[in-house]
Amino acid sequence: MFVEADHAQRALVSGWGRTVPTAATVRRPRSVAETAAILGSAGPRGVIARGLGRAYGDAAQNAGGTVIDCTGLAGMRVDPDTGVVTAAAGMSVDALLRALIPHGWFVPVSPGTRQVTVGGAIAADIHGKNHHRDGSFSEALSSLRLILPSGEHRLVDRSDGRLFQATVGGMGLTGVIVEATFRCIPIRTSRMRVDTVRAANLEEALALMAEGDDAYRYSVAWIDLLARGPALGRSVLTRGDHAEPAELTPRDAADPLGFDPRVRLSVPPWAPPGLLNPMTVRAFNELWFRRAPRERRGEIQPLAGFFHPLDALAEWNRLYGRRGFLQYQFLLPFGAEGTLQEIVERVSASGVASFLAVLKRLGAASGGWMSFPAPGWTLTLDVPVRPRVLGLTRDLDAAVLAAGGRVYLAKDSVLRADAVERMYPRVMDFRALRSEIDPQRILRSDLARRLEL
């Protein structure tokens, strides 16, 4: 019988891109003790921790093994004077913000969605619109609690050197993160003061960001990857800071720290495929570019609209249909702007309809061995899975490698193991540490298998 007793508990697990689902036993512990027990009773194919499943590829799935859904590990406390938060690994950024904002604190790094967990934020060493000023999530991290493959519970901080640097950005492969302590940003309102400017092409966008980013805490550019010719890479830059109470309208000032974003719409499971095709995306891009002001300063916007626009549309990944999609995010070091131009040309020429395309200038790297951000430009694009896409991703990989760049593992679903070695110079150290603390490879994921981590 194929449906054996233990296999009956299995479910198909995939990433946000809904590609390459594999079957695993999914367990959802409610306590640290339960988590440790699951880790301790791992079968021959190991375990991997999973948060809210926003990694696009196969980082949080484990074919034939166990996936520990850590979203049941909840709870947090905050020091109201210093803004230091200690939170369970399963707490989402959404839950954190709802608890923190009314008291005048903001998470040190906010990614483009609130639906990521603290554990995931550390495992991917996430970055946000403020990377150029504040760095990635690990910069604000003072310590984390890890259950090692041996079963030992360890409080890890920077003095642990190798283990800390292997764990931040380590895609969950050094142990199960159960708790973390980090510093928050003080805020006085839940609004943002935003400057918007349109760039007619890529060159202008890069120049504007290079010249002006440092005057803002937060900065990002939406880029039109279907534009061609002189408009290649035209963008809308939105940059801003947390607003002060004096800048609010009287109505907003009555509830300066109010924060209650709602999901406005949900894409149903039966959404027909092909809604996002070159025609519709081109039309959307045209509208979006034209609708943005050529230049506007000092606009007051709610937090959610500035940081998490896509969270208003639940299950938006369903728009890509059953075939799913992949997200390609890479960075190129400063000085490789020529390669960036070539890549944008190549993507535009391919006609691939990327619904989401974002460009950002990154700042200094954290010490994480497998951490993605480093000084340079990062471009993120969605790619529907179609036949000619393989050639495109191969070309992008080659261009990124040649320019000394790298691909973000939290988004990746197509890299080969040999490319990872060239993109992440510390991967040998990472593998060596894994062999030391996890000789039987109890921590394992499909990503680890694919990239030989």
Partner: protein, 251 residues
């Protein structure tokens, strides 16, 4: 592990003398597969091993007797144990044979059905169990349009393919939701040494065409792959022809 674009790491070909099986392995290795196991009678696949090795893969050749069903479970398990994770298994054993001879020699006909169907059932089930245990992977079964509606001109070959096609689809349903999948490949006439003695049918294809269709099917997660694709529409019609017409179709 397979990536989101259908590129795989490891390939097993059961029936390493099959030209189609080899073409599939070549295509997958060109796309990025690094490990191949060729299972063939007497372990005789040196030329294929060299060719795939030159394309960059590590190739292992193992002895495999399609008729010795008692040995299949052990062999499949040992292949999986040696590779660790297996992404694709191609069930490629097959012989076209000679219909006229089969009609004269019933025992030879029965032997061809053992080769073309029976061995696939035992290996297929053993592979399915291993794929299920690892929670991922695809069994590619080389079916044929000859099995969609058997014809007077080659019904001994055709009936085995009909059985094989039914087995593949039933197994696909059994594995639904387990992470493991089955792909039934239904080529029309394929130009090979095996089919050289039979005149080509319309819409004939090469082994590379079949390999391309399999690679594309792996990307899409397809269960049924016709080669060329338009044969699906053709056979939707052919299946409905009255017997009196079908019987008289040119061979």
């Amino acid at each position: 592990m397979k990536n989101a674009l259908g590129v795989v790491d490891s390939v097993v070909v059961l029936g390493g003398r099959s030209e189609i099986g080899r073409a599939i392995a070549r295509r997958l290795v060109r796309d990025g597969a690094s490990r191949v196991v060729l299972a063939v009678r007497g372990g005789a696949a040196a030329d294929a091993a060299v060719e795939l090795g030159e394309l960059g893969a590590t190739v292992t050749v193992v002895d495999f007797d399609a008729l010795d069903v008692d040995s299949h479970e052990r062999l499949v398990r040992s292949i999986f144990a040696s590779l660790g994770d297996v992404d694709v298994v191609v069930s490629a054993v097959g012989e076209l044979g000679d219909q006229a001879r089969y009609e004269r020699e019933p025992a030879a006909a029965a032997a061809s059905v053992r080769t073309n169907l029976v061995g696939h059932v035992s290996t297929g089930l053993a592979v399915a169990a291993c794929l299920r245990a690892q929670g991922h992977g695809t069994l590619v079964v080389l079916s044929s349009v000859a099995g969609i509606r058997t014809r007077r001109s080659n019904f001994v070959y055709g009936c085995a393919k009909a059985g094989l096609d039914g087995f593949a689809l039933g197994l696909a349903d059994a594995l639904h939701g387990t992470g493991a999948t089955v792909m039934a490949v239904r080529p029309g006439y394929v130009h090979t040494a095996m089919s050289a003695h039979v005149p080509p049918a319309p819409m004939s294809v090469t082994v590379e065409d079949v390999a391309d269709a399999v690679a594309d099917g792996l990307r899409r997660g397809a269960v049924v792959v016709w080669v060329p694709q338009r044969l699906a529409g053709v056979f939707a019609v052919l299946r409905l022809l009255p017997r009196s017409v079908w019987r008289r179709m040119p061979t």
